[in-house]
Structure formats: structure tokens, C-alpha cells
């Protein structure tokens, strides 16, 4: 099992998968880790749906241009708009999207720790996915996570120098009133 720092830096978007099946308990485990992500106002307006049926995976792929390869499972991360707006008013839906994003990151890291490859996808047709998977009106599919055991090594990840994006105490180069 990778430690948290390794899991974060080692994670890649995996788009090529082997034929190896994913055990149900692993899907449940990564979902549990997603479920433990922070939630604004402790509203927890998130739902998860896993798909392993190969024919349904193909249909979802045809509605998701951002999905590549042949994943062995797809996780759908949804926001409960009604619950979020009921608890947090007009901002509720935005909070719920942020909640889903945080859950997705947990899911990606948990998948990586279990040796699974994953890729998070937003490029899909939300209404068509809702229709195909029978989601009620107030449940909004926000992200898909394609999963499978990696085939081949993905290119090493690249990030800009941390100093270019990390500011301490005030924004460097700013003429603003960051100094106190």
C-alpha cells in the first residue's frame, strides 16, 4: 500500500486498461474512501453508482467523449441538487459540485493505492447518462471515473515549479494591500 505522499505524486490519469476484472470489494473500498471526503456544511449531497456490465460500459463510452480505452468499471459521482439547495440555498449546488470533486480525488487516490488505474471525466452528456442509468431529476451526474488495471506505463506527470504558484502571506507582485 502506498503512503499518502506517494499516492498523490504517483497518481496519473490512466486511459489504457488490462482485461483483469476489478473485485467488487475494491470498488466498494474506493467508494467508501470517496464517501469520507469533506462536505460543505456536512450536507453530504453525494451519490455513487458503479457500472461493470460491459455492454452498459460501451453505451456510457459512446456518450462520454472524454473516456478512452476499455475500463472494467465506471463510477458515476452524482450531486443531490435538491438536498444541497434545501440545506444551503442558492449556493448549495455549487457546494455539492465541490463536494463531488473532493470525493473524486479521494477515489482516485484510493484506486491508485489499490493498484488500479483511473481517469476522471467530465466530458459526457449529462442528460443522456441520466436517462440511460435511470437517475431521478434532482440527482445530477457530475463526474465519471473510469477504472481498470493499468496497461503499460503512462508518461510521468509534470507540474510547474511550486514557487510559481505558491504565495506566502500575500500575493507576490501584487500592489494590493496584502501587507498588514
Amino acid at each position: 500500500m502506498l503512503d499518502i505522499f506517494e499516492a498523490i505524486k504517483d497518481r496519473r490519469s490512466i486511459r489504457r486498461y488490462s482485461h483483469q476484472e476489478i473485485p467488487d470489494q475494491d470498488l466498494k473500498k474506493i467508494t467508501e474512501m470517496a464517501h469520507w471526503a469533506p462536505s460543505a456544511g456536512n450536507i453530504n449531497p453525494r451519490y455513487y453508482l458503479s457500472v461493470k456490465n460491459p455492454e452498459m460500459i460501451e453505451v456510457i463510452k459512446s456518450l462520454s467523449p472524454g473516456m478512452f480505452g476499455s475500463p472494467k468499471a465506471i463510477m458515476l459521482l452524482c450531486a443531490d441538487k435538491a438536498k444541497a439547495e434545501d440545506k444551503a440555498g442558492a449556493n448549495g449546488y455549487i457546494y455539492s459540485i465541490m463536494d463531488v470533486a473532493m470525493a473524486a480525488q479521494n477515489m482516485l487516490l484510493a484506486a491508485n493505492a489499490l493498484g488500479l488505474g483511473a481517469c476522471v471525466i467530465r466530458s459526457f452528456h449529462t442528460q443522456a447518462i441520466k436517462k440511460m442509468l435511470g437517475l431521478p431529476e434532482h440527482i445530477a451526474p457530475e463526474l465519471l471515473v473510469a477504472l481498470g488495471y493499468p496497461e503499460g506505463d503512462p508518461p510521468k506527470g509534470l507540474r510547474s515549479n511550486l514557487n510559481e504558484v505558491y504565495h506566502q502571506e500575500c500575493y507576490k507582485g501584487s500592489a494590493g494591500n496584502g501587507k498588514r
Partner: protein
């Protein structure tokens, strides 16, 4: 049955292309050429299953699968690859007496 499989495969490809068209309205411009060449690769898959492909198309698909993800890491390499792909496909038009 075979015709039904072909119909299903084409239906999925058309779904993919229509969804791409729908989503591309609000996606990065470079995703447009990416979706087009990805659809080309998927079409070659279908042709291969029908025994209706040739060496040029197979090699073109290999090229696509090898280099299409440059779209996310190296814009120049992606553009170079698109040109390389077209020149590769032109080879399929050569006649026997050339």
C-alpha cells in the same frame, strides 16, 4: 446477427460523434481535432471487425493511438502528428502503377 452487431457499433460511433459535437461547443478548441481523429480510430476498429480495412488504415490507427494524447501535453507535437497522419493516409491512395 452480424448486421445487428455492425448497426450497434455504428450507432455507438454516431452517439460518440454527436455527443462530441454537443460538448465541443463549450470545450477547448483543440479538442475538436482530437475528437475527429479519435472517431477515425474508432471507425477503423469497426472496419477491422468487418474485415474491411487495409494496412494503411491499420497503421494510421496505430499512429493515432500512439500520439493522440499529445493534445494534453505538447500542442506542437499534436499538430505535427495531425500532419503526419494525413500524409500516412495519402499512402492508401497510391495505385499499383505508381
Amino acid at each position: 446477427m452480424e448486421k445487428d452487431n455492425l448497426r450497434q457499433s455504428v450507432h455507438k460511433l454516431i452517439c460518440y460523434m454527436a455527443t462530441s459535437a454537443c460538448n465541443l461547443v463549450d470545450e477547448p478548441p483543440l479538442y475538436g481535432p482530437f475528437r475527429l481523429i479519435d472517431a477515425s480510430s474508432r471507425l477503423i476498429d469497426i472496419l477491422e471487425n468487418e474485415g474491411a480495412t487495409d494496412q494503411t488504415l491499420i497503421e494510421a490507427r496505430e499512429l493515432i493511438e500512439e500520439k493522440k494524447y499529445f493534445v494534453m501535453t505538447d500542442e506542437k507535437a499534436f499538430n505535427d502528428f495531425l500532419n503526419e497522419l494525413v500524409l500516412k493516409l495519402v499512402e492508401g491512395f497510391k495505385t499499383d502503377d505508381q
